[in-house]
Structures are given as C-alpha cells and as structure tokens.
C-alpha cells in the first residue's frame, strides 16, 4: 500500500469517494459503542464474583491483632491491608496508608491540603502568586483536571518511550521554586502504555528541587496490570530510590484496586515516607474517623497476599489481551505503511495511544461519534484539553466485547483514513 502523501490528487479523490461510501454503510449499522474510558468489561467483573462471597454473616471480622473491622477505629488502614498494598508496591507497610475507594480522591485531597495547609511546614500554595505542575504529555485527563481546578499552571513535558523528557524535568524542577509537582503514571502510562526506564526513575530520585515542597505525584495505577505473564514491563521502586538519593520525602505514590476487583468498590492507598505520612495524618484525623475496613478485610481475605493479587491480574489479562491484540491487528493491517498515523503497543495498562496527522484528531473523534463510536475526547490527554498538534487520540479497548471492538476499530481506521485524505486534499 502506498503512503497517502504519495497519492496524486486524483487518487485521493477516488479514495475519498470509496471511503465515504464505506462510512455511509457503517453509519447505517447504527453502532452504539464506547471506547472512551478505561472501564473493565462485564466479563472481567463476572470472572471475579467469588470476591463477593469472601465475607458473609459467618465470617470473623477481626484483624489479626483483634480489631473488629465492623466498628470504628484504625484511621490509616488495617495492618494486613497496608502490608498487602506495600508488598504489591514493593515498599514497607509502614510507608502505606489505605484510604477509601479511589486513588483519585487521595490525589485531589493531597493537592487540596497543600493549597490550604502547605506541605510539611512550607507556605500554603493558596498564598503563593504562582504554583506550577509539570505534566508529561500525552497524559491522564483526570490528573490535569485536578490541577486545573486549583488554578495551578500546567507545563507540558513531552513523553518518550523511557518516560518524560528528563532534561526538561530537571531543568524546570531544579531551577523554578514555583514548580511544586509532576503528574506521573510510571508504568504502562496513560495513554501510551510506556514504562519509565530505570534511568528515568533514578533521575527522578536524584532531582534537586528548587522548592522544598516539590513532590512527584507517582500514580502507579497499573503496577500489576500486565497483559502478558512473560513479557511484563518492570519499574524501579521510586520510594527506595528517593531514599537512596537522599530525597526520602520527595514522592507520593498512589494506587488502587479499582481495576483489580471492582471499580468504585476497591481500596486505594498512598505510599510515602514516614515524615510525609505523619504530616498527612494530622489532617486526616480531622477529615475522617476511618475508611471502610470491612472492604479492606474483604480484599485481604480474597487475595491473601501480593502473589494472590498478581495471579488474579492474569485472569484479567486473559480477557484484556485479545482485545488489545485485536486493535493492534486492525491498526496494523489497515494503516501500516499509509503514513497517516502511528500508535503504541503497550504490554499492560488500559490504553493505546494513537497519533494522527496534525490537525486531524478532533475531526476523527467527531466522525467516529457521528457513526456511533464514542472515543475519549480529542485533546483530553493534554492539560486544558489543548493538544497543540490536535493529533493524539486515546483508545480504550477494555469495555467493549471483542466483536464490538472489531466493529469500533474498523470504524476508527475508516475515520482516520477519511480525515487524513481530507487534510491531504486541502494541502494538495
């Protein structure tokens, strides 16, 4: 197949006619498909229904230390849940607080607390003229939404296959005291599925921030969300790397079981240095009496240990893997060599990142929507929803059934072709 840019105007016009015809046929199917969010499929949830039987009226609801999980008490998570999460992250239970059902909520509250009360004795951000966050792009829209709501200035940092552009990160963090944070999804990044290299992690840990209250917001959302048993990405533990580098307090690590058990009904956690956790607990103890210990206990009893949780993730992988591969297959067979788009092929996580020709992303998403396939809004992967090249599209293959996914991806590549031809014709 010839690259589109090498086609003559006549060839493009002929192609356009053909593609438009295919599009009308596709529209006639009246599809109603959703590839917009990283939502587990019903089949994944059905697969783990035994989770709902782990605690019942006949269960003992006491922790190993004898605390009744049905009653008030224990603000920072039952010890066995802190250990379970600690083992998954590769850190000590002493470095973990287990919260409620959403890591996003922990991140939001962490930023809110910094705004109102400051970070470990530093000036509250709301009293500063300017607060900045670095945002590796493309990235996670809900991260950017938090910093946007608080009026924090967001600075784009380009992603590479090894993680964010560390020259730029070092330059900005080490010289600008207004830079208070950076949003990271270090493993199977959202949306590209890149995992930060060891060198990247070490360079993060070795930062010399101009701001004492600079923190790395390390959202390890996909820590055990591998698609393959054999070819897993590996990620260095940022907490111990920061310790080794003499920056023990520089990182907050977040995770949850939203895509391990049930979204919304999982448990979420923060891992950080003892000094960070002690500071945060002073505020937590006013904000809440404690989180849902029964659900924490349910998780501990179900998985038993980190190995149990990892084994469980392979059952999710068995369902997710064919979906990712189906998308890869359609993209490859339909777009390879055309020069109108490139995409990532992650080995884990929940997303595939697609880069269209410049100025085409919005139109592609719109065209898909018109024919019944909902994608994540174009621009969503950038702060302020502004993709400067209007090129990046996030594909979320998890929710549709494989059959739906094939239809949705077929439509997607068709729209990519149509919008690309339009662009080339305009420029011709």
């Amino acid at each position: 197949m010839k690259a589109y840019k090498d086609l003559s105007k006549e060839e493009l016009l002929t192609l356009q006619k053909q593609l438009n015809k295919e599009y009308e046929e596709a529209k006639a199917k009246e599809l109603k498909l959703d590839m917009s969010r990283g939502k587990p499929a019903a089949s994944q949830l059905d697969m783990e229904m035994d989770f709902m039987n782990v605690l019942n009226a006949d269960s003992i609801f006491k922790t190993e230390a004898g605390v009744d999980c049905r009653n008030y008490g224990i603000m920072d998570g039952i010890p066995e849940a802190r250990k379970l999460i600690g083992d998954v992250l590769g850190v000590s239970a002493d470095n973990v607080i287990v919260f409620g059902n959403a890591s996003l909520n922990i991140m939001y509250d962490t930023v809110a607390r910094s705004e109102i009360f400051g970070v470990m004795g530093e000036t509250p951000w709301c009293k500063l003229d300017k607060v900045k966050f670095l945002c590796p792009v493309p990235g996670y829209d809900r991260h950017f939404a938090i910093t946007e709501q608080f009026g924090i200035e967001m600075i784009n940092v380009p992603m590479t296959e090894d993680g964010p552009d560390m020259d730029m990160v070092e330059e900005l963090v080490n010289t600008d005291p207004a830079v208070k944070g950076i949003w990271c999804v270090p493993k199977y990044s959202n949306p590209q599925g890149y995992t930060y290299s060891d060198e990247t992690v070490k360079r993060f840990a070795a930062l010399k921030p101009a701001a004492k209250d600079f923190r790395i917001y390390w959202d390890n959302a996909y820590v055990i969300h591998d698609l393959y048993e054999e070819k897993k990405d590996t990620l260095l533990d940022i907490i111990s790397e920061c310790e080794k580098a003499g920056n023990p307090d520089m990182v907050y690590e977040f995770c949850s079981t939203s895509k391990v058990t049930f979204p919304g009904s999982g448990i979420a956690a923060l891992a950080a240095s003892k000094a960070n956790l002690d500071f945060i607990k002073k505020f937590m103890t006013i904000q809440t009496i404690g989180y849902d210990k029964v659900n924490q206990l349910r998780h501990v009893r179900y998985f038993k240990d980190a190995e149990g949780m990892k084994a469980h993730m392979m059952k999710h992988a068995a369902i997710l893997r064919p979906k990712f591969e189906a998308v890869f297959h359609v993209l490859e067979s339909e777009l390879n060599g055309l020069g109108i788009g490139s995409w990532t092929e992650p080995k884990g996580g929940y997303f595939i990142s697609f880069d269209a020709l410049e100025g085409c992303a919005k139109k592609i998403v719109e065209k898909c929507k018109e024919a019944g396939v909902v994608l994540t809004g174009a621009g969503a992967t950038y702060p302020y929803k502004k993709d400067p090249k209007d090129s990046n599209i996030r594909l979320a293959p998890s929710f549709p059934t494989p059959e739906e996914l094939a239809m949705a991806t077929d439509l997607f590549v068709l729209c990519v072709k149509i919008v690309s031809v339009e662009k080339l014709l305009k420029e011709a």
Copy 2:
C-alpha cells in the same frame, strides 16, 4: 439524702474518708472500661450480620435503571440509595447526594471547598480576614475540630432544651457577615440529646444572614436513632422549612448509616437545594469518579425502604435502651438530691450529658481514668476543648456491656462525689 452544700465541714470530711476508701476498692478491681465514644457495641453489630449476606456472588448488581454497580459510573449515588436516604430525611431524592462511608468527611470537604473555592460564587473564605462559625455548646468535638483546623473562629452559643439560643443566633447571623456557618445536631443533640423544637427550626429557616454564603450545617446524625418506639422526638424538616421561608439554599443536611449498619462501612449523604448540589457536583466530579455503589446497593437491598431502616433501628434501640436506662438509674439513685450534678435523659442518640459543679469536670474525668474508666475528655464538648465552667462531661453508654456499664457508672458517680466534696471542702 442531704445536698452536699448543706453538709458541715466535719460531715464532708467523714464522707470524704468513706468515698476515698470506696475509690481504693474500685481501683483494686483494675477496671478497663471505655465510655468515651459513641461506638456501637459488638452485640449491635452481631444482631445485623445478615446484612453481610445481602449481596453475594449470585446477586444481580444492577440498579433498577440497569447500571452495573460493580463498574465505574454514577457520581452522585445510585438513584435508589438517594431515594432511601431522602425518605429517611423526608426530602426528595433530587435533593440528595450519596457519598462514601463518612458524613464527617462530607462536612470536612464542604468546609475545605468553601475555603478554597467559596460558596456559589462568593469569595473563597481563605481570602477573607475572618471567618466565624457559631457552635452550640455543649456540642460535637469533631465538628469543632474541623473549624479549628481551618482557623475559623468559633463562637459559643448556649444550648437549651429547645435547641441553640435563637436570640443569639439571629443576632449574630443576621448582623455579622463573617459568620458563615453554624454546627447543629438537631435531633438528639450530641451530647445532651435535645431535639430542636418546631419553633427553633422555623427560626433557623427564617434567618436573614448578613453573609450570602452563610449555611446551616445540619448534622442529622441521629435522625432515626430513637431509643423508644412510642416516645420518639420529632424534628421538622429543615430543607422544606428553608424553602418555605424563601431561603432554599441556606442549609446543608448531613447523615450516614454509620450507626445504622456498620461504622466505617456505611453510606453517608448530603441533602441540600438543587442549586447547592449542582455547585458542589462541579467540584466532586474532579475529586472522584464515584463512591462505592456496591455498598450503596447493599444498603438498599437490605432495608428495602425507609420503613425497613426504621424497623431495623428498633433492634438497635432494644440493645441500647437498657444501657441508657441503667446509667439513668445509677445517676438518679446515687446523685439525686445531692446538688452536685445534673444530667439529661435523652430518648435517642448516643450520649448523655452530665454537668458537674463548676471546675470539677476535668478532675472527675481524670479520677475515672486513674481507676480504669475512660470518658470523653473534659472540655471536648466545647470549641478549642475549653469548657469555660469546666463542668460538662459526655457519657457514651453504647459500647460497654450492661455489666461493664453498671461498674463504669458506679465508678463515675463515686468520682463525681469525691471531686465535689474536695471542691466544697476547699470552699468551706
């Protein structure tokens, strides 16, 4: 029995010797009892274990409208949970958002949001020189802790049997624009167990606040927490009263099932006008994707409706009532006529309020602790933990067994007597 103040010095000294002897005997028992917090007893939790069987692997996890509660979606609570809570509060489901496990967390976040973002377009509180809250006293320590953490100035307003001193509330709210809120526990108030009279509620609803962003923080924590089927207190619905009075946006009402099902594993809610909820949702949608819908569904399926929840509360009452009555009995039989203390006899809620002679509360609590009975810290029922008369003590009879409670209350009245005699001897 003669009032202590009418005893001669000699009589007091004889009495003191006798009481001290009793105290030494009590200490020798090495009690370890806790009357400090409003914590349900294990027997209450054991009584409702069938709650844990309501959802299991074979259950259907869909809402009536077909939403899968196991997955992401629905930020503001599943409709049937909003209806259940609405029916309990006597308001429309449209006026309800169901959150996570703790109403305290909702209250904290409501204050935090007002600090950072303001209330419906008004200036964020963090930008104001002074923000004040009215605090009916004695009151709930965790309310006061929130406003203290945010540096909000707290003004004591005396409680009466009909609720807060409304002359003072009207005077302050209607003239001082720095007054942004008032903490209320309107039914079975913490700690006195008083329920606001209809006139009080109507006067609340008819306030003409100097501050547009003044809100009543109506913590209806004990809305269905009656001890008696027949002689329940009744409380007017503040939401509709505010509407009728032309102040629809003036109130936030909070509640939870922490003392209905399991503390920490219940559901919590906010009820308010649509305008308030719409404003709040703009921030919520950034803070979280949603709360635990499986647990919301569990509550709906277990109780079916508000009547089911009220019937369930009578089972709690059957366990709690004898405990309250045991305390009343000991107080009455041991202290009546002595003139060294007065107490409330609530028909619901979780507490009994005791007023000792001035300057005696701290010493009584300390003396109890020394002999192994932990009470809520003296002063806790006042802002800044400062009871100006050092007189109020909160008794929480729910957690100990009846036998323990008898021992604990016996010790309590003994300590009241000892400390009172000391005081009278000093003054003699």
